[in-house]
């Protein structure tokens, strides 16, 4: 289904205004045709890579996006350089993508349901996770907890950002702690794994969501295919690490084509919001002055008796 991921940083290939050919089936597609079909090849179903902004436009209701922590930028704590300094690479990535980092986060409404949305962009240094991605994730979780909004993470990543050394590795620990804070409330958390989601992102928050959705053909693996080939000294099976293989192996909940993604997302969020636990909302409101549940099923609230002393928080584990 999918082309093999290159961990190298490559420019998006759907940004130009003219026609381009599908990398999978070679069919020539016009930009309009692609855009009208969710950037999915109408011929073979290949899901083209989306920029973070395009993804937000696709998922968030028009005009509701409210970016959080937009002012965060990577520092260069290691003064890292290889053939070029890290700082130059960052400048270039910002210039090329128009993004300050490989992830943008914000609150928005999705089919009228409030949510915190975070979207990674593979075009920004391979969607690698450094200090800023970790900090943005943390702030997104804080916002979700503060407002009692569910959290949706659209992932695309080549892994940790080498150029921040050990600090990038520790973002795995940092984002994990943030997820644990979410589950203490609990706030629903859905991750959407797009092509490719690998390494430290897959091995931290991406696989810690309550429900894990993948796009068709997405490569999802901890180690990159090349690393594995070098280790086992043979070529990999054709479907190695693809979303479809991950589904068979029990690692994800479902594969959802991009055209159905927004609807499905809202259905699941509504479901997770609509448990009988909503009967206990009054407790939370009293406790922390937080707004109550707002899922479409929150009507259950009125029908079910509230329990004054229910030890509901024990649920979290």
């Amino acid at each position: 289904m999918a082309q093999r991921v290159s961990v190298n940083i490559s420019r998006r290939n759907g940004a130009s205004g003219g026609a381009e050919s599908c990398p999978q089936c070679k069919q020539l597609l016009s930009a309009v045709e692609l855009r009208d079909n969710y950037s999915v090849c109408p011929n073979c179903g290949n899901h083209f890579r989306l920029s973070a902004r395009e993804r937000v436009a696709m998922l968030a209701d028009s005009g509701t996006w409210n970016e959080i922590a937009a002012g965060l930028r990577s520092a260069d704590p290691l003064q890292f350089f290889d053939l070029r300094p890290y700082s130059e690479r960052l400048e270039e990535a910002e210039y090329d993508t128009g993004l300050g980092e490989a992830m943008i986060v914000g609150s928005c409404r999705i089919h009228k349901m409030d949510a915190v949305l975070m979207v990674m962009d593979f075009s920004f240094m391979g969607g690698s996770m450094g200090s800023v991605v970790g900090e943005k994730f943390w702030r997104a979780c804080e916002a979700a907890i503060e407002n009692r909004y569910p959290l949706v993470a659209v992932c695309a990543s080549g892994g940790a950002r080498m150029q921040e050394g050990i600090l990038s590795l520790l973002q795995m620990a940092k984002t994990t702690c943030a997820v644990e804070l979410l589950s203490e409330v609990p706030v629903p958390f859905i991750s959407i794994l797009t092509h490719p989601t690998t390494g430290g992102v897959l091995a931290s928050f991406a696989t810690l969501a309550d429900v894990i959705i993948a796009e068709p053909g997405a490569l999802l693996s901890f180690s990159g295919p090349r690393v594995i080939e070098q280790t086992i000294k043979e070529s990999l099976p054709d479907n190695f690490g693809l979303a479809e293989s991950n589904l068979n192996h029990g690692q994800i909940d479902m594969i959802v084509p991009r055209s159905q993604l927004k609807d499905r997302l809202v259905q699941i969020l509504g479901m997770l919001e609509g448990g009988v636990a909503c009967a206990l909302e009054p407790l939370w409101e009293e406790e922390a002055g937080r707004p109550g549940r707002r899922g479409p099923l929150a009507g259950a609230l009125g029908r079910i008796k509230a329990f004054a002393n229910a030890p509901w928080r024990s649920l979290k584990r």
């Binding site: 696989t207 068979n248 029990g250 909940d253 479902m254 997770l272 609509g274 009988v276 909503c278």
Partner: protein, 306 residues
């Protein structure tokens, strides 16, 4: 309709009458063949190829059902289907064994015989439900857990016991309905619930009649004799106090009217959930434990206790 919904049976209440009846049971095999007939009919109905399966109930009861997959360890087991459903103003987690109706589906569903991955998926999703206060509804319909070398190696026994422990622990309300074949530990793994109900033509048994006959008479063709002595029909199981109620089926049996059967289950589920939701979680758990503690019949210092 309302009076059909729940026919609660207190453990052991009818037991003495039954015992009196059984005492008169004819030990002559020739005669017992006749008594067999009704019991064996139930076994065949429970296994009827047109009987509604978990996905049929889901189809009729939960139009917006969202299936969730995977044990996050090894595989997604298609012999157990699970997912979220909107139901009468709340969300529930639906989990059930799934047989297949045609050959391809049967193979894919492994004839409804789960491997450890199926039980681990069920466990994972019950924990998810618990986290969000979502009640759990299970449907039981399996000949048993799959007996295979690889399934054993991956911990079939431990997967079942872990699912049982998970159900014992849940803070949310749980309702189990035996919709067809309730076979052995592989069935019970989804059956440690606040309410355990059986459809009229379902069976619930510690061992399949065939295996029982093979062990006792060294002849699996004696299965209908075994079926009779195992007391596995819904009314017999209810009389033993092993379930909470028997649910009637549409005229002629559930296999003739899937929608009708689903309608009955749907109404009964709502009544049971409503009752259970009114109980505080800790109390509900205590009642669950107390119920299963009562299961069994024994003598203590000469006195028979139920």
């Amino acid at each position: 309709m309302a009076e059909l919904k729940r026919l609660p049976t207190l453990p052991g209440v009818h037991l003495k009458d039954e015992i009196a009846k059984i005492t008169h049971r004819l030990r002559d095999l020739g005669l017992s063949r006749q008594v067999d007939k009704a019991v064996w009919d139930k076994v065949e109905l429970a296994r009827h190829a047109q009987r509604p399966y978990t996905l049929d109930y889901i189809h009729h009861m939960f139009p917006g059902f969202i299936e969730l997959s995977g044990d996050r360890c090894f595989a997604d087991d298609a012999a157990i289907v699970a997912g979220l459903a909107a139901y009468m103003g709340r969300t529930i987690m639906v989990i059930g064994h799934q047989k297949g109706r045609d050959l391809a589906a049967r193979t894919r569903r492994n004839f409804g015989m789960p491997r450890p991955e199926g039980y681990r998926k069920a466990q994972r999703l019950m924990i998810l439900a618990d986290k969000f206060g979502i009640p759990v509804f299970t449907m039981i319909d399996t000949p048993g857990a799959f007996p295979g070398v690889a399934a054993e190696e991956r911990g079939q026994a431990g997967a079942i016991s872990a699912a049982l422990l998970c159900m014992a622990r849940l803070d949310v309300p749980t309702v189990a309905v035996i919709i067809g074949e309730g076979g052995s530990g592989g069935a019970l793994a989804l059956g440690l619930a606040d309410r355990v109900l059986m459809l009229e033509n379902s069976i619930y048994s510690v061992i399949s009649p065939e295996s029982c006959a093979a062990i006792l008479w060294k002849d699996s063709s004696e299965a209908h004799l075994a079926a009779q002595t195992l007391r596995l029909t819904s009314s017999q199981v209810a009389d033993l106090g092993a379930i909470d109620a028997v649910l009637p089926e549409p005229r002629g049996g559930a296999h003739r009217d899937h929608a009708g059967a689903a309608h009955i289950v749907k109404e009964v589920l709502e009544d049971n959930l409503r009752e259970l939701e009114a109980i505080r979680p800790l109390d509900r758990k205590r009642e669950r434990f107390a119920k299963f503690r009562r299961m069994g019949v024994w003598k203590e210092n000469g006195l028979t206790l139920f």
